[in-house]
Symmetry: C2
Subunit: 180 residues, 2 copies
């Protein structure tokens, strides 16, 4: 065992909701002392960098209650229990934007906030969109738009695009373009 | 008011800990229906892309209890109440790595996980490190190392670097280098 490892001593369920599952664990630290760790368990999520036939990036404009404001994000959503991230990406893309795609490619996976949550986010890329059918969840309200990379970069600068996955996505496109 | 906005009707405190503050709100949706929103309130955090005199990136190797494993991340930490993010970046850099810096520059701010948390992460850049003094929190155990960009890119690929801010940081360095 690595000398940095922390061991679970006790675990207490605090809340289990639609999205988050909060547990508070008592742990033994590497020096033998005890401490507590707050963990927000999350099913994981997918997000899709989707480029349309005009070379524009699909974005969804959405009110984020946790932030108390509207931001633009790349299409994304939570994994269903047992769902393969690849299937989830295809499903969320169509549900949110009304587009299917012929080919989708995983480009990165990362933890959103490892200090307090196990949420793992899988990022996909597609530029083979075909028309499908939008069907939003009952409590989901959003608008779809498409912008070119130059505009997306401006949207990052002025914080209309303001979340980790979408900021990453725009930077990914900037970098990919440079490498071509 | 934008037609996407959701309105708070009731708010219930579920848990307030060292890191997270969970509230469950009853909200009125844009269509007049009601729903609940789970919000993990967080004080916000800072992270520093720190390049040493050899041109290498400072990383901290740390056990992340929420993930049940060790990952490598750029130095980071939570904001203290009322603390300016700039001061927090300087403080966390020295506390975790033992380096101060002469100049630090904000490069991006983004929300980690806007679907359920208001955590805002401020990313800084510095390449003017000078020796300071490491002083970790009582329940904080980590090792500092420095790697070149090529190695960091490999670490992203094999998931030793696996969190949003650090993956973003490595991509930022790749992009910045290309632009020089």
């Amino acid at each position: 065992m690595d000398r940095l490892t922390e061991l679970k001593k006790e675990s207490k369920d605090i809340f289990k909701g639609k999205v988050v599952h909060l547990v508070i664990d008592k742990v033994v630290l590497p020096n033998g002392e005890e401490s507590t760790r707050e963990v927000v368990k999350h099913p994981g999520a997918v997000a899709v960098i989707a480029i349309n036939k005009e070379g524009k990036i699909l974005l969804v404009r959405q009110y984020r209650y946790a932030l108390g404001k509207i931001i633009y994000e790349i299409p994304a959503g939570k994994l269903e229990p047992g769902e393969d991230p690849n299937d989830s990406a295809l499903r969320e893309l169509e549900e949110e934007t009304g587009y299917r795609c012929e080919k989708i490619e995983p480009i990165a996976s990362f933890y959103s906030s490892p200090g307090f949550s196990d949420e793992l986010l899988h990022i996909y890329y597609t530029d083979t969109l075909v028309q499908g059918r939008q069907h939003l969840d009952n409590d989901e309200f959003l608008e779809v738009c498409a912008v070119d990379l130059e505009e997306a970069v401006r949207m990052v600068q002025d914080h209309r695009i303001a979340d980790a996955k979408s900021v990453y996505a725009i930077q990914y496109l900037q970098l990919t373009l440079k490498n071509r």
